[in-house]
């Protein structure tokens, strides 16, 4: 591996592995790190770990699903963020730019308001996110002859505000003792109740979304040049843009449908990844996914250990993300101009 490769791929991978073991170890029932390694090794080799069954239960049944969710959702949001930022040629763009979060939020809030099951709430959130972006995209496509990116962004802002108001309206009518806390908690994001079976469908959807990003990773670089330049270089930008938006939206909707709205990851992680791996998308995408997975795992581990009650993840990602973002803004030159 080249020196640069060690920097952007090797170090984050190593950090992620250590973080993974630490996250399995800490919590209300602490497990020694060497015991975590023993438990993992026992599973891999098929031998017995020789540890009490309670330890195995904590590691496999309680912590692992949640850790897997953090890794998957963190990687997904960062990949979507890197895609949106390249597509819109703007480092201030996050996966929410076209109204995914607001659409998913409205879907989930309606589900909670109508007292539906968790699976229905998730499905409504997923459909809401996709529906919001599809509407924005169709509005953008209808207004031809203008800067297509600008139309999309402005339509996305309008859609986000509209859906945000709709969410507020539902909150006004919601039962303040039962539904309102659930709504608030969902809108701030949490990985508390996630089980491995919950993760299977979103894993499938996220992989389906990641596939075109991976296959078209080099073409993504051309999209960052802007519409006319990319077309002059032989790129069918309208088709590719639709594919990238669909893929990133699929990924984001799937992720937020189980986690609730977790802001900032899709905004700041691509920046950090660009500092580490450069803007070339075939390096940026894996780097962003590694960092996103690690960041959400770290934040979620904090969320469940730092206080007696669970701290919503959305609050923590903002508390950590906003100062980091300002630091980047003040110091980073290579990240973007």
């Amino acid at each position: 591996m080249s020196r640069a490769g060690i920097l952007w791929l090797g170090l984050p991978s190593l950090a992620l592995l250590l973080l993974f073991i630490a996250a399995l170890a800490v919590g209300k029932f602490p497990v020694a790190p060497q015991d975590v390694v023993l438990v993992l090794w026992a599973k891999l080799s098929g031998a017995s770990s020789g540890l009490p069954p309670a330890v195995e239960t904590v590691v496999w049944q309680i912590r692992l699903p949640r850790i897997a969710a953090a890794l998957l959702i963190g990687a997904a949001l960062a990949a979507a963020g890197a895609t949106y930022q390249g597509l819109f040629r703007n480092p201030l763009v996050s996966p929410d730019i076209l109204g995914v979060a607001a659409g998913a939020g409205l879907g989930a809030v309606l589900g909670i308001f109508l007292s539906r099951s968790v699976i229905v709430v998730q499905a409504l959130a997923f459909v809401g996110g996709l529906g919001a972006v599809l509407t924005v995209y169709l509005i953008g496509a209808a207004m031809r002859g203008r800067d297509p990116l600008l139309v999309l962004v402005l339509a996305g802002v309008a859609m986000g505000t509209l859906l945000g108001s709709a969410i507020s309206l539902v909150k006004v009518f919601a039962d303040p003792y039962n539904q309102l806390p659930a709504i608030t908690f969902w809108l701030l994001g949490s990985l508390t109740a996630i089980t491995l079976p919950d993760l299977v469908p979103i894993l499938v959807v996220i992989v389906v979304g990641l596939l075109p990003l991976y296959l078209l990773r080099w073409r993504m670089n051309l999209m960052t040049l802007g519409d006319e330049e990319a077309r002059a270089l032989g790129v069918e930008t309208r088709t590719l843009r639709a594919v990238f938006i669909a893929a990133a939206t699929l990924i984001t909707s799937a992720a937020v449908s189980v986690s609730g709205i977790i802001g900032w990851i899709g905004l700041i992680i691509p920046h950090a990844a660009r500092l580490l791996a450069g803007p070339e998308f075939s390096r940026l995408l894996p780097a962003a996914m590694l960092l996103g997975a690690g960041y959400l795992l770290a934040v979620d581990t904090l969320a469940r250990t730092m206080a007696a009650i669970e701290v919503p993840i959305g609050i923590l990602t903002a508390f950590i993300g906003a100062p980091f973002f300002l630091w980047l803004l003040a110091t980073a030159r290579r990240g973007w101009q």
Binding site: G86, R217, L222, A232, W336
Partner: protein, 274 residues
């Protein structure tokens, strides 16, 4: 390969910019577009590149209407050099030049080693091989313009459309870019470029088209087309066109009235430049 238009009307939807443009550009020829701001140069070039649909007439390559061509097919023949700009993300120079290969490689592919060699050769042709691993956003405006020309060369086009390639460059880089244009034409590429400097037309243009208010007023050899009368009509200022027989070119000198603030004795003859 011949690029031609017949009574081309161009502009944006609901906002026509120009019409009645008939031109033909052949291999190895340099055609300059000269005209005041708002004359329609950029819009015409975008239409020639197929980035804007023609409002009347058609753009043809060897007689075939390009409107039905795929972007990939078109990009293998027509290259575009935009004005040097700041990229949004800090790609390295070689990454930028490699992007010129996109019309030659598969949709899911990344550039191969052979593409890398073509890109490095393009950089070497322009004398900027040493910039390959520099960051595009950190080099000077003149270097960026050369990098964008290198990217267009990596595209291996037959026709090159350049939007004010000398604008915002210092004097040395202007001359370097003009030399490159002449060299490209010698290698058989047809070049269309727009400029604000009639001297550049004299230096390396085979023909010049005057664009004014969306109309092509004249097209022909620079010596025949660029005259005090035509420049007055285009720009509304008095200009003299001076022959420089020792240098085998001509230069345009604006009337000094209202400019001179020193006595004429301090000026030597023949060196005035607008």
């Amino acid at each position: 390969m011949t690029l031609s238009t017949d009574n081309l009307g161009f502009g944006y939807r609901g906002k026509p910019v120009g019409r009645g443009v008939t031109i033909e550009i052949r291999a190895g020829e340099v055609l300059c577009l000269l005209g005041p701001n708002g004359g329609g140069k950029t819009t015409l070039m975008k239409t020639l590149l197929g980035l804007l649909p023609p409002q009347e007439g058609a753009v043809r390559l060897d007689g075939e209407d390009i409107a039905v061509w795929s972007r990939k097919r078109l990009a293998r023949i027509v290259g575009y050099v935009p004005q040097a700009h700041a990229a949004f993300f800090p790609f390295t120079v070689i990454d930028i030049v490699l992007m010129g290969r996109s019309a030659h490689i598969g949709l899911f592919a990344a550039p191969s080693r052979a593409d890398g060699e073509i890109a490095r050769r393009a950089l070497a042709t322009l004398g900027i091989a040493h910039l390959a691993d520099r960051v595009y956003t950190e080099i000077s405006g003149g270097e960026r313009q050369l990098v964008l020309i290198a990217r267009a060369l990596a595209q291996e086009p037959r026709i090159l459309v350049m939007d004010e390639p000398t604008a915002s460059l210092d004097f040395g880089n202007q001359v370097r870019v003009l030399r490159q244009i002449a060299a490209l034409a010698r290698s058989g590429i047809a070049v269309v470029f727009s400029t604000h400097d009639p001297d550049h037309v004299f230096l390396c243009g085979d023909r010049v088209a005057l664009l004014h208010g969306g109309r092509m007023e004249e097209i022909g050899a620079p010596e025949a087309v660029i005259t005090p009368a035509s420049l007055k009509r285009l720009y509304g200022v008095e200009v003299q066109v001076v022959n420089l027989p020792d240098h085998d070119t001509r230069t345009c000198v604006p009337s000094v009235e209202g400019l001179r603030r020193r006595s004429t004795a301090t000026w030597s003859s023949g060196s005035g430049r607008g």
